[in-house]
Amino acid sequence: MTAEDVKKTLEQSLAGKIVELTNPQPRRMFLHVAPEHLVEACKVLRDQLGFYHLTTITGRDTGDKLEALYHFAQAGMVLTVRAQTGRAHPSLPTIIAVYPGATFYEREVHDMVGIVIDGHPDMRPLVLPEGWPDGIYPMRKDWQYNREKGVIQ
Protein backbone atom coordinates (compact mmCIF):
# COMPACT_ATOMS: atom_id res chain seq x y z
CA MET A 1 0.00 0.00 0.00
CA THR A 2 1.50 3.30 -1.04
CA ALA A 3 1.36 6.57 0.83
CA GLU A 4 -1.14 7.89 -1.72
CA ASP A 5 -3.56 5.02 -1.09
CA VAL A 6 -3.31 5.45 2.65
CA LYS A 7 -3.90 9.15 2.29
CA LYS A 8 -6.95 8.64 0.10
CA THR A 9 -8.56 6.08 2.39
CA LEU A 10 -7.91 8.18 5.47
CA GLU A 11 -9.41 11.28 3.91
CA GLN A 12 -12.52 9.33 2.95
CA SER A 13 -13.07 7.49 6.21
CA LEU A 14 -12.08 10.26 8.56
CA ALA A 15 -13.48 13.19 6.60
CA GLY A 16 -13.36 16.35 8.63
CA LYS A 17 -11.64 14.67 11.56
CA ILE A 18 -8.06 14.96 10.37
CA VAL A 19 -6.18 17.87 11.86
CA GLU A 20 -3.03 17.23 9.82
CA LEU A 21 -1.67 14.45 7.60
CA THR A 22 1.96 14.58 6.47
CA ASN A 23 4.41 12.29 4.75
CA PRO A 24 7.84 13.79 5.57
CA GLN A 25 10.01 10.83 4.59
CA PRO A 26 9.38 7.77 2.43
CA ARG A 27 7.47 5.05 4.33
CA ARG A 28 6.72 7.45 7.22
CA MET A 29 3.34 9.18 7.74
CA PHE A 30 2.08 11.35 10.56
CA LEU A 31 -1.65 11.77 11.26
CA HIS A 32 -2.92 14.30 13.80
CA VAL A 33 -6.45 13.73 15.22
CA ALA A 34 -8.41 15.13 18.13
CA PRO A 35 -8.48 12.83 21.22
CA GLU A 36 -12.21 12.07 20.77
CA HIS A 37 -11.52 10.65 17.31
CA LEU A 38 -8.52 8.56 18.38
CA VAL A 39 -10.28 5.22 18.81
CA GLU A 40 -12.19 5.69 15.56
CA ALA A 41 -8.94 6.43 13.72
CA CYS A 42 -7.38 3.28 15.20
CA LYS A 43 -10.31 1.20 13.96
CA VAL A 44 -9.92 2.63 10.45
CA LEU A 45 -6.20 1.89 10.51
CA ARG A 46 -6.67 -1.71 11.61
CA ASP A 47 -9.75 -2.69 9.61
CA GLN A 48 -9.43 -0.68 6.40
CA LEU A 49 -5.72 -0.09 6.02
CA GLY A 50 -4.18 -3.24 7.45
CA PHE A 51 -1.98 -1.69 10.10
CA TYR A 52 -2.00 -4.87 12.20
CA HIS A 53 0.92 -4.01 14.41
CA LEU A 54 1.08 -1.40 17.15
CA THR A 55 4.77 -0.68 17.50
CA THR A 56 4.68 1.53 20.56
CA ILE A 57 3.23 4.69 22.12
CA THR A 58 5.50 7.66 22.71
CA GLY A 59 4.56 10.23 25.33
CA ARG A 60 5.92 13.70 24.73
CA ASP A 61 5.84 17.12 26.39
CA THR A 62 5.47 19.82 23.74
CA GLY A 63 5.73 22.68 26.22
CA ASP A 64 2.13 23.88 26.38
CA LYS A 65 0.51 20.50 25.77
CA LEU A 66 1.11 16.81 26.26
CA GLU A 67 0.88 14.47 23.32
CA ALA A 68 0.89 10.79 22.70
CA LEU A 69 2.21 9.32 19.46
CA TYR A 70 0.81 5.96 18.46
CA HIS A 71 3.13 4.24 16.00
CA PHE A 72 1.40 1.69 13.79
CA ALA A 73 3.18 -0.53 11.30
CA GLN A 74 2.52 -2.78 8.35
CA ALA A 75 4.79 -4.04 5.60
CA GLY A 76 6.37 -0.97 3.98
CA MET A 77 4.73 1.75 6.04
CA VAL A 78 4.85 3.27 9.53
CA LEU A 79 1.99 5.58 10.41
CA THR A 80 2.12 7.70 13.54
CA VAL A 81 -1.13 8.99 15.03
CA ARG A 82 -0.72 12.10 17.10
CA ALA A 83 -3.22 13.03 19.83
CA GLN A 84 -2.76 16.08 22.06
CA THR A 85 -4.24 16.92 25.44
CA GLY A 86 -4.03 19.91 27.79
CA ARG A 87 -1.60 20.00 30.73
CA ALA A 88 -4.28 20.79 33.34
CA HIS A 89 -6.18 17.49 33.15
CA PRO A 90 -4.30 15.37 30.64
CA SER A 91 -6.32 12.39 29.53
CA LEU A 92 -6.71 10.23 26.43
CA PRO A 93 -9.05 7.32 25.71
CA THR A 94 -7.63 3.79 25.84
CA ILE A 95 -7.18 1.87 22.59
CA ILE A 96 -6.81 -1.62 24.08
CA ALA A 97 -10.21 -2.55 22.68
CA VAL A 98 -8.72 -2.18 19.21
CA TYR A 99 -5.09 -3.08 19.91
CA PRO A 100 -4.86 -5.33 23.03
CA GLY A 101 -1.08 -5.10 22.82
CA ALA A 102 -1.29 -1.47 23.95
CA THR A 103 -1.73 -2.22 27.68
CA PHE A 104 1.89 -1.88 28.75
CA TYR A 105 2.59 1.06 26.45
CA GLU A 106 -0.35 2.99 27.89
CA ARG A 107 0.81 2.26 31.43
CA GLU A 108 4.30 3.44 30.50
CA VAL A 109 2.98 6.68 29.01
CA HIS A 110 1.01 7.28 32.20
CA ASP A 111 4.12 6.64 34.30
CA MET A 112 6.50 8.80 32.37
CA VAL A 113 4.40 11.71 31.05
CA GLY A 114 1.32 11.58 33.25
CA ILE A 115 -1.41 11.26 30.65
CA VAL A 116 -4.32 9.48 32.31
CA ILE A 117 -5.64 6.75 30.07
CA ASP A 118 -9.43 6.69 30.41
CA GLY A 119 -10.89 3.22 30.48
CA HIS A 120 -7.63 1.35 31.11
CA PRO A 121 -8.33 -1.48 33.56
CA ASP A 122 -4.98 -1.38 35.37
CA MET A 123 -3.22 1.96 35.94
CA ARG A 124 -0.65 0.80 38.54
CA PRO A 125 2.88 2.02 37.92
CA LEU A 126 4.80 -0.22 35.56
CA VAL A 127 8.30 1.18 35.37
CA LEU A 128 8.49 3.76 38.17
CA PRO A 129 9.84 2.61 41.53
CA GLU A 130 7.60 1.86 44.50
CA GLY A 131 8.36 4.95 46.58
CA TRP A 132 7.89 7.37 43.67
CA PRO A 133 5.70 10.38 44.64
CA ASP A 134 2.36 10.89 42.92
CA GLY A 135 1.99 13.63 40.36
CA ILE A 136 5.65 13.71 39.37
CA TYR A 137 6.35 12.60 35.85
CA PRO A 138 9.99 12.31 34.82
CA MET A 139 9.60 12.74 31.06
CA ARG A 140 7.98 16.16 31.34
CA LYS A 141 10.28 19.00 30.38
CA ASP A 142 9.86 20.83 33.68
CA TRP A 143 11.08 17.84 35.69
CA GLN A 144 14.75 17.93 36.58
CA TYR A 145 16.61 15.29 38.47
CA ASN A 146 18.45 16.68 41.48
CA ARG A 147 20.70 14.10 42.99
CA GLU A 148 20.97 14.30 46.78
CA LYS A 149 24.51 14.90 47.83
CA GLY A 150 25.93 11.70 49.29
CA VAL A 151 28.15 11.89 52.36
CA ILE A 152 30.88 9.36 52.93
CA GLN A 153 31.41 8.84 56.66
Partner: protein
Protein backbone atom coordinates in the same frame (compact mmCIF):
# COMPACT_ATOMS: atom_id res chain seq x y z
CA UNK B 1 -1.94 -27.18 48.93
CA UNK B 2 -5.48 -26.96 47.63
CA UNK B 3 -5.75 -23.18 47.43
CA UNK B 4 -3.52 -21.09 45.25
CA UNK B 5 -0.54 -19.18 46.50
CA UNK B 6 1.70 -16.56 44.97
CA UNK B 7 5.13 -17.59 43.78
CA UNK B 8 7.50 -14.71 43.17
CA UNK B 9 9.93 -15.05 40.31
CA UNK B 10 12.35 -12.16 40.44
CA UNK B 11 13.62 -9.53 40.79
CA UNK B 12 16.42 -11.96 41.58
CA UNK B 13 15.96 -15.48 40.36
CA UNK B 14 18.25 -17.99 38.65
CA UNK B 15 15.92 -18.21 35.64
CA UNK B 16 16.25 -14.49 35.00
CA UNK B 17 19.45 -13.12 33.68
CA UNK B 18 18.30 -9.57 34.35
CA UNK B 19 16.00 -8.08 37.00
CA UNK B 20 12.26 -8.09 36.47
CA UNK B 21 9.53 -9.28 38.73
CA UNK B 22 6.79 -11.80 38.10
CA UNK B 23 4.09 -12.82 40.50
CA UNK B 24 2.64 -16.20 39.62
CA UNK B 25 -0.52 -17.45 41.18
CA UNK B 26 0.05 -21.17 41.23
CA UNK B 27 -2.20 -24.06 42.03
CA UNK B 28 0.11 -26.99 42.63
CA UNK B 29 2.10 -27.29 39.43
CA UNK B 30 -0.23 -25.07 37.35
CA UNK B 31 -0.04 -21.34 36.82
CA UNK B 32 -3.42 -19.66 37.31
CA UNK B 33 -2.44 -16.06 36.73
CA UNK B 34 0.66 -14.03 36.04
CA UNK B 35 1.51 -10.41 36.75
CA UNK B 36 4.53 -8.37 35.82
CA UNK B 37 6.42 -5.46 37.32
CA UNK B 38 9.18 -3.73 35.37
CA UNK B 39 11.54 -0.93 36.11
CA UNK B 40 14.32 -2.55 38.13
CA UNK B 41 16.85 -1.46 35.62
CA UNK B 42 15.41 1.89 34.54
CA UNK B 43 18.31 4.23 34.08
CA UNK B 44 16.55 7.25 32.58
CA UNK B 45 18.38 7.02 29.28
CA UNK B 46 15.57 8.72 27.36
CA UNK B 47 15.73 11.72 29.69
CA UNK B 48 19.51 11.64 29.55
CA UNK B 49 19.43 11.87 25.76
CA UNK B 50 17.67 15.22 25.90
CA UNK B 51 20.59 16.73 27.79
CA UNK B 52 23.31 15.44 25.45
CA UNK B 53 24.38 16.14 21.91
CA UNK B 54 23.63 13.75 19.07
CA UNK B 55 27.19 12.44 19.08
CA UNK B 56 27.06 11.73 22.81
CA UNK B 57 23.64 10.14 22.46
CA UNK B 58 24.94 7.67 19.92
CA UNK B 59 27.21 6.14 22.55
CA UNK B 60 24.72 6.55 25.38
CA UNK B 61 22.07 4.65 23.43
CA UNK B 62 24.55 1.93 22.59
CA UNK B 63 24.59 1.20 26.31
CA UNK B 64 20.87 0.52 26.51
CA UNK B 65 21.66 -3.13 26.16
CA UNK B 66 24.83 -5.20 26.02
CA UNK B 67 23.59 -7.81 23.58
CA UNK B 68 21.82 -5.59 21.06
CA UNK B 69 24.09 -2.55 21.45
CA UNK B 70 24.70 -2.35 17.72
CA UNK B 71 20.98 -2.50 16.94
CA UNK B 72 20.26 0.49 19.20
CA UNK B 73 23.15 2.45 17.73
CA UNK B 74 22.04 1.65 14.18
CA UNK B 75 18.45 2.65 14.90
CA UNK B 76 19.52 5.99 16.33
CA UNK B 77 22.06 6.96 13.69
CA UNK B 78 19.85 6.08 10.76
CA UNK B 79 17.01 8.12 12.26
CA UNK B 80 19.32 11.09 12.66
CA UNK B 81 20.65 10.59 9.12
CA UNK B 82 17.10 10.77 7.83
CA UNK B 83 16.52 14.04 9.68
CA UNK B 84 19.81 15.47 8.43
CA UNK B 85 19.02 14.31 4.91
CA UNK B 86 22.34 12.55 4.39
CA UNK B 87 22.87 9.12 2.89
CA UNK B 88 25.85 6.96 3.94
CA UNK B 89 28.01 5.48 1.15
CA UNK B 90 27.26 1.93 0.06
CA UNK B 91 30.37 0.42 1.64
CA UNK B 92 29.40 2.01 4.95
CA UNK B 93 25.89 0.59 4.69
CA UNK B 94 27.21 -2.89 3.96
CA UNK B 95 29.54 -2.86 6.94
CA UNK B 96 26.67 -1.55 9.08
CA UNK B 97 24.57 -4.46 7.94
CA UNK B 98 27.43 -6.93 8.49
CA UNK B 99 27.83 -5.78 12.09
CA UNK B 100 24.11 -6.22 12.66
CA UNK B 101 24.16 -9.75 11.32
CA UNK B 102 27.30 -10.75 13.24
CA UNK B 103 25.62 -9.43 16.35
CA UNK B 104 22.53 -11.46 15.52
CA UNK B 105 24.64 -14.60 15.19
CA UNK B 106 26.23 -14.05 18.59
CA UNK B 107 22.87 -13.29 20.17
CA UNK B 108 21.10 -16.31 18.71
CA UNK B 109 23.91 -18.68 19.71
CA UNK B 110 23.73 -17.17 23.18
CA UNK B 111 19.99 -17.69 23.25
CA UNK B 112 20.21 -21.32 22.16
CA UNK B 113 22.57 -21.97 25.05
CA UNK B 114 20.37 -20.16 27.55
CA UNK B 115 17.33 -22.09 26.34
CA UNK B 116 19.26 -25.32 26.93
CA UNK B 117 20.28 -24.17 30.39
CA UNK B 118 16.72 -23.23 31.33
CA UNK B 119 15.54 -26.77 30.70
CA UNK B 120 18.55 -28.27 32.45
CA UNK B 121 20.41 -29.24 29.28
CA UNK B 122 23.77 -27.77 30.19
CA UNK B 123 25.69 -29.67 27.54
CA UNK B 124 23.80 -27.78 24.85
CA UNK B 125 24.67 -24.57 26.67
CA UNK B 126 28.39 -25.38 26.71
CA UNK B 127 28.49 -26.35 23.04
CA UNK B 128 26.71 -23.28 21.70
CA UNK B 129 28.62 -20.91 23.94
CA UNK B 130 31.91 -22.37 22.77
CA UNK B 131 30.88 -21.63 19.18
CA UNK B 132 29.73 -18.18 20.21
CA UNK B 133 33.36 -17.44 21.04
CA UNK B 134 34.14 -17.75 17.32
CA UNK B 135 31.82 -14.91 16.40
CA UNK B 136 32.83 -12.90 19.47
CA UNK B 137 36.43 -13.08 18.31
CA UNK B 138 35.37 -11.92 14.85
CA UNK B 139 33.49 -8.98 16.34
CA UNK B 140 36.49 -8.11 18.45
CA UNK B 141 38.75 -8.27 15.41
CA UNK B 142 36.50 -5.94 13.41
CA UNK B 143 35.56 -3.42 16.09
CA UNK B 144 38.10 -3.89 18.87
CA UNK B 145 35.37 -4.78 21.38
CA UNK B 146 33.43 -7.88 22.34
CA UNK B 147 30.30 -5.90 23.27
CA UNK B 148 29.42 -2.24 22.67
CA UNK B 149 31.25 -2.12 19.36
CA UNK B 150 31.01 1.63 18.75
CA UNK B 151 30.97 0.98 15.00
CA UNK B 152 28.12 3.23 13.87
CA UNK B 153 28.23 6.94 13.48
CA UNK B 154 25.97 9.49 11.78
CA UNK B 155 26.87 9.23 8.11
CA UNK B 156 28.33 5.70 8.03
CA UNK B 157 30.58 3.48 10.10
CA UNK B 158 33.78 4.24 11.97
CA UNK B 159 36.06 1.37 10.97
CA UNK B 160 36.85 -0.14 7.62
CA UNK B 161 37.55 -3.78 6.77
CA UNK B 162 40.80 -4.85 5.13
CA UNK B 163 41.51 -7.96 3.04
CA UNK B 164 42.91 -10.02 5.93
CA UNK B 165 39.88 -9.30 8.05
CA UNK B 166 37.55 -10.32 5.24
CA UNK B 167 39.38 -13.66 4.85
CA UNK B 168 39.19 -14.30 8.59
CA UNK B 169 35.52 -13.36 8.67
CA UNK B 170 34.76 -15.76 5.83
CA UNK B 171 36.67 -18.55 7.62
CA UNK B 172 34.85 -17.91 10.87
CA UNK B 173 31.43 -17.83 9.24
CA UNK B 174 32.22 -21.05 7.32
CA UNK B 175 33.19 -22.78 10.59
CA UNK B 176 29.94 -21.71 12.21
CA UNK B 177 27.95 -22.75 9.17
CA UNK B 178 29.37 -26.25 9.48
CA UNK B 179 28.30 -26.55 13.13
CA UNK B 180 24.86 -24.93 13.21
CA UNK B 181 22.93 -27.77 11.48
CA UNK B 182 23.98 -29.96 14.40
CA UNK B 183 22.15 -27.66 16.83
CA UNK B 184 19.12 -27.50 14.62
CA UNK B 185 19.13 -31.28 14.51
CA UNK B 186 19.71 -31.63 18.24
CA UNK B 187 17.04 -29.10 19.18
CA UNK B 188 14.50 -30.75 16.90
CA UNK B 189 15.21 -34.42 17.66
CA UNK B 190 16.81 -35.00 21.10
CA UNK B 191 13.90 -36.74 22.95
CA UNK B 192 14.14 -35.09 26.38
CA UNK B 193 14.66 -31.66 24.84
CA UNK B 194 11.75 -32.05 22.44
CA UNK B 195 9.61 -33.32 25.33
CA UNK B 196 10.31 -30.07 27.17
CA UNK B 197 9.78 -27.59 24.33
CA UNK B 198 7.27 -29.09 21.89
CA UNK B 199 3.72 -27.86 22.52
CA UNK B 200 4.94 -25.54 25.30
CA UNK B 201 4.15 -21.81 25.31
CA UNK B 202 1.57 -21.89 22.55
CA UNK B 203 1.00 -18.55 20.87
CA UNK B 204 -1.52 -18.83 18.02
CA UNK B 205 -1.02 -16.60 14.99
CA UNK B 206 -4.10 -14.42 15.70
CA UNK B 207 -2.94 -13.83 19.27
CA UNK B 208 0.57 -12.97 18.13
CA UNK B 209 -0.82 -10.31 15.83
CA UNK B 210 -3.40 -9.07 18.32
CA UNK B 211 -0.85 -8.68 21.13
CA UNK B 212 1.64 -7.01 18.78
CA UNK B 213 4.42 -9.55 19.42
CA UNK B 214 7.66 -9.03 17.50
CA UNK B 215 10.72 -10.84 16.28
CA UNK B 216 11.34 -14.59 16.30
CA UNK B 217 8.42 -14.96 18.74
CA UNK B 218 5.90 -13.81 16.16
CA UNK B 219 7.72 -15.44 13.23
CA UNK B 220 7.53 -18.78 15.04
CA UNK B 221 3.74 -18.28 14.99
CA UNK B 222 3.78 -18.01 11.22
CA UNK B 223 3.57 -14.21 10.90
CA UNK B 224 5.64 -12.76 8.07
CA UNK B 225 6.93 -9.82 10.06
CA UNK B 226 10.53 -8.79 9.77
CA UNK B 227 11.62 -5.13 9.68
CA UNK B 228 14.50 -6.03 7.34
CA UNK B 229 11.97 -6.63 4.57
CA UNK B 230 8.98 -4.58 5.78
CA UNK B 231 10.94 -1.41 6.28
CA UNK B 232 14.32 -2.01 4.59
CA UNK B 233 17.38 -0.37 6.08
CA UNK B 234 21.15 -0.64 5.88
CA UNK B 235 21.07 -1.86 2.29
CA UNK B 236 18.60 -4.68 2.87
CA UNK B 237 16.40 -6.03 0.05
CA UNK B 238 17.43 -3.43 -2.53
CA UNK B 239 20.99 -4.71 -2.46
CA UNK B 240 21.39 -7.54 0.01
CA UNK B 241 19.29 -10.67 -0.68
CA UNK B 242 17.43 -12.03 2.29
CA UNK B 243 14.40 -14.20 3.06
CA UNK B 244 12.21 -14.17 6.15
CA UNK B 245 12.44 -17.36 8.22
CA UNK B 246 9.15 -18.47 9.76
CA UNK B 247 7.68 -21.60 11.30
CA UNK B 248 4.09 -22.59 11.95
CA UNK B 249 4.67 -24.51 15.19
CA UNK B 250 3.62 -21.61 17.48
CA UNK B 251 5.50 -23.19 20.41
CA UNK B 252 8.98 -22.98 21.96
CA UNK B 253 10.26 -25.66 19.60
CA UNK B 254 9.24 -23.46 16.66
CA UNK B 255 11.15 -20.56 18.22
CA UNK B 256 14.26 -22.72 18.48
CA UNK B 257 13.85 -23.73 14.84
CA UNK B 258 13.25 -20.17 13.65
CA UNK B 259 16.36 -18.97 15.43
CA UNK B 260 18.47 -21.80 14.08
CA UNK B 261 17.19 -21.11 10.56
CA UNK B 262 17.88 -17.41 11.03
CA UNK B 263 21.44 -18.31 11.96
CA UNK B 264 21.85 -20.04 8.61
CA UNK B 265 20.32 -17.01 6.88
CA UNK B 266 22.74 -14.73 8.76
CA UNK B 267 25.67 -16.76 7.42
CA UNK B 268 24.31 -16.31 3.90
CA UNK B 269 23.96 -12.57 4.37
CA UNK B 270 27.43 -12.21 5.91
CA UNK B 271 29.08 -14.19 3.11
CA UNK B 272 27.21 -12.28 0.45
CA UNK B 273 28.28 -8.95 1.95
CA UNK B 274 31.91 -10.02 2.33
CA UNK B 275 32.07 -11.24 -1.29
CA UNK B 276 30.30 -8.18 -2.73
CA UNK B 277 31.74 -5.43 -0.59
CA UNK B 278 31.96 -2.32 -2.84
CA UNK B 279 35.01 -0.09 -2.77
CA UNK B 280 34.79 3.51 -1.66
CA UNK B 281 34.35 5.65 1.40
CA UNK B 282 32.81 4.28 4.58
CA UNK B 283 31.21 7.50 5.81
CA UNK B 284 30.23 11.03 4.89
CA UNK B 285 30.65 14.01 7.13
CA UNK B 286 27.60 14.78 9.23
CA UNK B 287 26.65 18.24 10.52
CA UNK B 288 26.51 18.92 14.26
CA UNK B 289 23.05 20.44 14.25
CA UNK B 290 19.94 18.67 13.04
CA UNK B 291 17.12 20.60 11.36
CA UNK B 292 13.72 20.57 13.02
CA UNK B 293 11.64 17.48 12.31
CA UNK B 294 10.61 14.08 13.58
CA UNK B 295 11.07 10.54 12.39
CA UNK B 296 10.57 6.95 13.30
CA UNK B 297 13.53 4.64 12.83
CA UNK B 298 13.10 0.89 12.95
CA UNK B 299 15.65 -1.92 13.07
CA UNK B 300 15.18 -5.66 13.28
CA UNK B 301 17.18 -6.36 16.42
CA UNK B 302 17.84 -9.96 17.45
CA UNK B 303 14.74 -10.08 19.63
CA UNK B 304 12.56 -8.33 17.12
CA UNK B 305 11.48 -4.92 16.03
CA UNK B 306 13.34 -2.09 17.70
CA UNK B 307 11.99 1.45 17.29
CA UNK B 308 13.51 4.82 17.99
CA UNK B 309 11.33 7.93 17.71
CA UNK B 310 13.51 10.99 17.37
CA UNK B 311 12.32 14.59 17.42
CA UNK B 312 14.81 17.32 16.58
CA UNK B 313 14.37 21.00 17.40
CA UNK B 314 17.09 22.57 15.27
CA UNK B 315 19.83 22.50 17.93
CA UNK B 316 22.59 19.94 18.51
CA UNK B 317 20.48 18.15 21.12
CA UNK B 318 17.34 16.12 20.46
CA UNK B 319 14.01 17.26 21.83
CA UNK B 320 12.72 13.75 22.47
CA UNK B 321 14.12 10.28 21.96
CA UNK B 322 11.86 7.34 22.57
CA UNK B 323 13.24 3.83 22.64
CA UNK B 324 11.03 0.78 22.55
CA UNK B 325 13.06 -2.39 22.94
CA UNK B 326 11.58 -5.60 21.47
CA UNK B 327 11.18 -7.29 24.85
CA UNK B 328 8.54 -4.82 26.04
CA UNK B 329 6.49 -5.65 22.95
CA UNK B 330 6.68 -9.35 23.77
CA UNK B 331 5.62 -9.19 27.45
CA UNK B 332 1.84 -9.21 26.80
CA UNK B 333 2.30 -12.29 24.63
CA UNK B 334 4.48 -13.91 27.32
CA UNK B 335 1.85 -13.34 30.01
CA UNK B 336 -0.67 -14.91 27.66
CA UNK B 337 1.57 -17.96 27.12
CA UNK B 338 2.28 -18.37 30.84
CA UNK B 339 -1.35 -18.58 31.96
CA UNK B 340 -2.30 -22.21 32.30
CA UNK B 341 1.24 -23.47 31.80
CA UNK B 342 3.16 -25.78 34.11
CA UNK B 343 5.35 -24.28 36.80
CA UNK B 344 8.28 -26.13 35.28
CA UNK B 345 7.74 -24.38 31.97
CA UNK B 346 8.08 -20.82 33.37
CA UNK B 347 11.82 -20.49 32.66
CA UNK B 348 11.71 -21.78 29.13
CA UNK B 349 8.61 -19.80 28.15
CA UNK B 350 10.17 -16.63 29.47
CA UNK B 351 13.49 -17.42 27.88
CA UNK B 352 11.78 -18.16 24.57
CA UNK B 353 11.19 -14.47 23.87
CA UNK B 354 14.85 -13.83 24.72
CA UNK B 355 14.03 -11.23 27.37
CA UNK B 356 16.34 -8.27 27.68
CA UNK B 357 15.30 -5.77 30.31
CA UNK B 358 16.32 -2.19 30.44
CA UNK B 359 14.22 -0.09 32.52
CA UNK B 360 14.71 2.21 38.62
CA UNK B 361 14.78 0.21 41.70
CA UNK B 362 12.37 -1.28 44.19
CA UNK B 363 12.71 -4.30 46.42
CA UNK B 364 10.42 -7.08 47.52
CA UNK B 365 11.17 -9.07 50.63
CA UNK B 366 9.55 -12.43 50.82
CA UNK B 367 9.23 -13.13 54.52
CA UNK B 368 7.53 -16.54 54.54
CA UNK B 369 4.74 -18.66 53.21
CA UNK B 370 2.35 -17.91 56.03
CA UNK B 371 3.04 -14.20 56.45
CA UNK B 372 2.74 -13.26 52.80
CA UNK B 373 5.10 -10.71 51.39
CA UNK B 374 6.29 -7.25 52.22
CA UNK B 375 7.24 -4.76 49.60
CA UNK B 376 9.93 -2.34 50.65
CA UNK B 377 11.16 0.74 48.88
CA UNK B 378 14.81 1.50 48.54
CA UNK B 379 15.14 3.78 51.59
CA UNK B 380 13.50 1.30 53.97
CA UNK B 381 15.67 -1.47 52.62
CA UNK B 382 18.80 0.63 53.05
CA UNK B 383 17.83 1.42 56.67
CA UNK B 384 17.14 -2.26 57.26
CA UNK B 385 20.55 -3.18 55.88
CA UNK B 386 22.32 -0.67 58.12
CA UNK B 387 20.38 -1.85 61.21
CA UNK B 388 21.00 -5.48 60.34
CA UNK B 389 24.74 -5.08 60.26
CA UNK B 390 24.82 -2.81 63.33
CA UNK B 391 23.00 -5.46 65.35
CA UNK B 392 25.66 -7.94 64.37
CA UNK B 393 28.43 -5.64 65.54
CA UNK B 394 29.53 -4.61 62.05
CA UNK B 395 30.04 -0.90 61.41
CA UNK B 396 28.02 0.08 58.36
Amino acid sequence: MSDTFVLPVGPQHPALKEPTSFRFKVDGEYIVDADLRLGYNHRGIEKGCEARTYVQDTYLLERVCGICSNAHMTAFVQGVEKLMGIEPPLRGLYIRCLMGELERIHSHLLWLGVAGHEIGFDTFFMYTWRDREVVMDLLEMVSGNRVNYGMQTCGGVRRDLDGVQITQLLDGVAALRARTPYYLNLGATEPTMVARIAGVGKLPKEKAIELSAVGPTTRASGVQFDVRSDDPYAGFVEHIPFTIQTDNGCDVLARVIVRAKELMECYNICEWILRNLPAGEIRVKAPRKVPEGETVSRVEAQRGELIHYIRANGTDKPDRVKVRAPTLANWPATLYMLRGAYLADIPIIMAAIDPCLSCTDRMAVISDVRGGEKVWDWETLRQYGIEFHRNRGIKP
